[in-house]
């Protein structure tokens, strides 16, 4: 068969294709987008990238909340007279075509002025004329061309974000001063004696002093603050010897030029801070389009439809929902509060909250919990609790979410720094007392020289460059880490805990097995055609699995919600659904999801749905079992227990029916026994466990959709590589240790000059950049070597 894919979105368009303009489309939605673009002469969209689009989704009524003035005001960046500016987050932005089409929106809509895409953040900033165009029509228009913006409760709360650019400024100031000071101190490096140089020396020196002032006072600010904080909590962190070095450098240099003793070390001083800031900048690789801090707010909608007592539908802000309100939840909408179902068929997908993979059907009068997603048409609900008091949102009031993991962790650099600082101070004092006895004029000189040369620039640089580089390498392999500290913590892990649904199982895949009497050809055709009419997810999965059959028109078809379907074709009658529904009595209790079949009141058999586990699961667990304690915590029932015991190594602990709090407590318990726990999860139900663990990794089938707050996000396709990534982080620690050795060697050489009292500025000026640069080169080459060995 010829392979056909949609011209617009690139999806398989084998089953029902639409041909338009000699191009194949998978659905009408895609075709419409193509039409819009071709009418407006925007066909370049398809030239830049093959099949760049997304199918527009049904959004009827979804953005009604954008009629509310209060909400609009919160979302807009700028609003004056007729000009409004808004920044929208669009998850679909992924290629150059996206940038192109979004920056040419004014071709589609005359009211839109400029639109600027930030590819890294996946945002577009749109300026439009609000005279006869609204934010709602803009969002609707974007959705209609497949670029649906994501607007959540989080946008409402944070409002306008301030971008922190202080590091760039500090780096700029330090670089500027470093360059100029180097340039000014050049004549004195060569110690040219002569009248000319002697005459201008003071000018050069005071200029250098002026240049170094903003570096010490502004660029080095963070180091002073961090060292002060460290000392106050009685910790000798790496910033303490750095600050010591900086202060001594500055004071001694200033004293030297005041008393005309020498040039001072302003070149080394500015260079040191510049290199340190470069390291900081390099380490600060962030994945702006991923958020590691998400809580329920990024999942929740901003507005929801409320029915007033007069029966009028109005849009209301989620925080304004009060107990007793009547709300409308549309298809695919999230229920924001605990409530009671009043009207309509509720089929709620709680996978966000509980990890349970199956959607549950509810009757009117049943209680519904916040976080569930309605899958089947419109329902009406009565509110029981406000947003903050709902069951799901209460999880976030747990203390785990308030503690900062990064601060509680003593990094390798800081633990070395403690011994380092003490050793340096010892050497300084011993050398000084030696010189006090032999030649007291040199004593002060030696004391300061030791502190200057020992300033741990190279040590402070080795971790940022190693981690920064590994962070980038892992990012390319689709393993996105929140920050560099995660690599260190990852290397220390000894216990691994996995969630089941969505983590070790693939979300979209199930394996189905049939047992019972074999169906004949007619029955199979009838079954296939019966399933064709149903929208139930189990029917869809089963339908896709069965062989192709002719399409026949059924004489009678009826779907019984929550029970099954029955259909008639000529003389044949078929029932598909639960055991009770088809009239099968023998079934006692089966924890697995099953679909039973009977034809002409004759029981045939059942299809059992098993979770499909991710590729390489067994191999991964077997390679992990020697070094790590393994456990699986599942929110699901124990239906898969047998299957899992077969797949996984014997010592893996399996725990089922775990509530979010149970998972959190389980991890807490193991931590109290000294274990370093890695949690791998996917849903909101794991959020507590991910926050409690030492390293929380969220597995995601599509990194653009949302994953709960965590330390790292791993693309699901790379799940089987988890072990090699952990090994890579262990090697990174080894690299850092080696670069420590290297920088100690430099320090020994430098200390020789310092202790013997012959440290000239030029030696410091050579040794300091040399050690820093060689450390950077060493760590970069070494991490790239590790990176090349990763899959």
């Amino acid at each position: 068969m010829e392979h056909k894919t949609c011209f617009h979105c690139g999806l398989d368009s084998q089953s029902n294709s639409i041909t338009f303009d000699d191009k194949i489309f998978c659905c009408n939605g895609c075709k419409t987008v193509y039409e819009i673009f071709s009418i407006n002469d925007l066909n370049c969209y398809y030239d830049l990238q093959e099949a760049p689009g997304a199918t527009p989704k049904e959004i009827e009524g979804k953005y009604d909340f954008l009629d509310t003035k209060k909400i609009i005001e919160k979302l807009l960046d700028f609003n004056d007279n007729n000009t409004q500016i808004v920044t929208l987050y669009i998850p679909h932005i992924h290629c150059s075509s996206c940038i192109w089409i979004l920056e040419n929106l004014n071709k589609l809509q005359a009211e839109i002025g400029a639109s600027v895409v930030n590819f890294g953040n996946k945002t577009v900033r749109i300026t439009f004329n609000s005279e006869n165009y609204t934010l709602k029509s803009l969002v609707t228009m974007l959705s209609s061309i497949g670029y649906e913006p994501y607007i959540s409760l989080e946008d409402f709360e944070t409002g306008k974000k301030q971008i922190d650019r202080s590091l760039i400024y500090k780096l700029g100031v330090a670089g500027f001063a470093f360059g100029n000071v180097m340039f000014l101190s050049f004549p004195e490096y060569f110690q040219v004696e002569g009248f000319w140089l002697e005459q201008y020396k003071p000018v050069f020196r005071w200029l250098m002093f002026t240049f170094s002032l903003p570096v010490v006072l502004y660029s080095a600010q963070d180091y002073f603050i961090s060292a002060y904080k460290g000392l106050r909590s009685k910790i000798l962190n790496i910033d303490v010897p750095i600050v010591l070095g900086v202060l001594v450098l500055f004071i001694r240099s200033t004293a030297e030029i005041i008393f005309d003793l020498g040039t001072g070390f302003f070149d080394s001083l500015t260079g040191l801070i510049f290199f340190l800031l470069v390291g900081k900048f390099f380490q600060k690789k962030t994945y702006a389009f991923l958020s590691f801090e998400r809580d329920y707010k990024s999942y929740f909608p901003i507005g929801i439809t409320r029915i007033t007592s007069e029966g009028i539908e109005e849009s209301v802000q989620v925080y304004d929902i009060k107990k007793g309100d009547r709300l409308i939840i549309r298809n695919e909408e999230l229920i924001p509060v605990d409530c009671i179902l009043i009207k309509g068929h509720a089929r709620i997908d709680y996978s966000f909250v509980t990890g349970e993979s199956e959607a549950v059907s509810k009757q009117s009068g049943d209680k519904l919990f916040a976080g569930g997603k309605q899958l089947d048409g419109i329902i009406e609900i009565d509110v029981l609790k406000s947003v903050e008091q709902s069951y799901l949102t209460q999880l976030w009031s747990n203390d785990v979410f308030k503690t900062d993991k990064e601060n509680a962790f003593t990094s390798l650099t800081n633990s070395i720094s403690k011994h380092f600082t003490i050793a340096i101070l010892l050497i300084a004092f011993i050398a000084t007392s030696f010189w006090l006895m032999t030649d007291s004029t040199k004593a002060l000189n030696v004391f300061t020289a030791v502190l200057i040369i020992a300033c741990p620039c190279a040590i402070a640089l080795s971790a940022p460059f190693t981690f920064g580089n590994l962070l980038r390498i892992l990012g390319k392999k689709k393993f996105y880490l929140k920050n560099a500290v995660v690599i260190e913590q990852l290397a220390k892990i000894d216990t691994m805990i996995f969630d089941k649904t969505g983590t070790i199982t693939a979300n979209k895949e199930t394996t189905i097995s049939y047992d019972g009497t074999v169906l004949n050809e007619n029955e199979e055709r009838l079954l296939k055609n019966t399933l064709r009419g149903s929208n139930h997810p189990l029917s869809r999965t089963l339908y896709n699995l069965l062989n192709k059959n002719d399409i026949i028109t059924l004489d009678h078809y009826q779907e019984h919600i929550g029970e099954g379907i029955e259909a008639n074709y000529k003389t044949e009658h078929i029932k598909v659904g639960s055991a009770q529904f088809v009239g099968y009595k023998a079934e006692i209790s089966n924890l697995n999801t099953t679909v039973h079949i009977s034809t002409n009141a004759d029981y045939k058999g059942k299809f059992t749905f098993y979770n499909a586990y991710r590729k390489g699961l067994s191999t991964l667990f077997n390679s992990l079992k020697t070094d790590y304690d393994l456990a699986i915590l599942s929110g699901d029932n124990a239906g898969e227990k047998e299957n899992l015991t077969k797949l996984l190594p014997g010592k893996t602990k399996l725990l089922f029916n775990q509530k979010p709090e149970d998972k959190l407590e389980y991890i807490k318990y193991h931590q109290s026994e000294g274990a370093k726990v890695l949690m791998v999860g996917d849903g909101l139900n794991d959020a507590g466990a991910l926050a409690q663990s030492d390293v929380g990794i969220a597995i995601s089938e599509n990194v653009n959709v949302f994953s709960p707050a965590c330390d790292a996000i791993l693309d699901a396709s790379k799940f089987n590589q988890l072990y090699s990534y952990i090994k890579a982080s262990k090697s990174a620690i080894k690299i850092i240790k080696w670069s420590f050795v290297l920088s100690f060697l430099y320090n020994v050489v430098g200390l020789y000059f310092a202790v013997t009292g012959q440290l000239a500025p030029v030696i410091a000026a050579i040794l300091m950049p040399l050690s820093s640069i060689s450390i950077v080169v060493f760590t970069t080459i070494a991490t790239n070597y590790i990176g090349r060995h990763l899959e």
Binding site: N40, D47, W100, E103, N118, F119, G120, G172, V173, L207
Partner: protein, 61 residues
């Protein structure tokens, strides 16, 4: 003799001018997004084609 002062003054003024330019560039957000501009500059050719006609059909959708 005092030409050295003139030279120093010039060199520092130039350096400071560049530094101010840098500060302005950061302030205006030029360092916020380092990827998109590299793609955007390749679009020029397609845009020229756009300017030709078709203003009337625009409001159709």
């Amino acid at each position: 003799m005092s030409v050295i002062y003139v030279l120093l003054a010039i060199s520092i003024i130039i350096a400071v001018a560049f530094f101010i330019a840098f500060v302005f560039a950061v302030k205006k957000g030029q360092y916020d997004d380092s990827y998109t501009p590299s793609v955007r500059m390749l679009f020029e050719d397609e845009l020229v084609k756009e300017n030709s006609n078709k203003q009337i059909i625009t409001n159709k959708d």
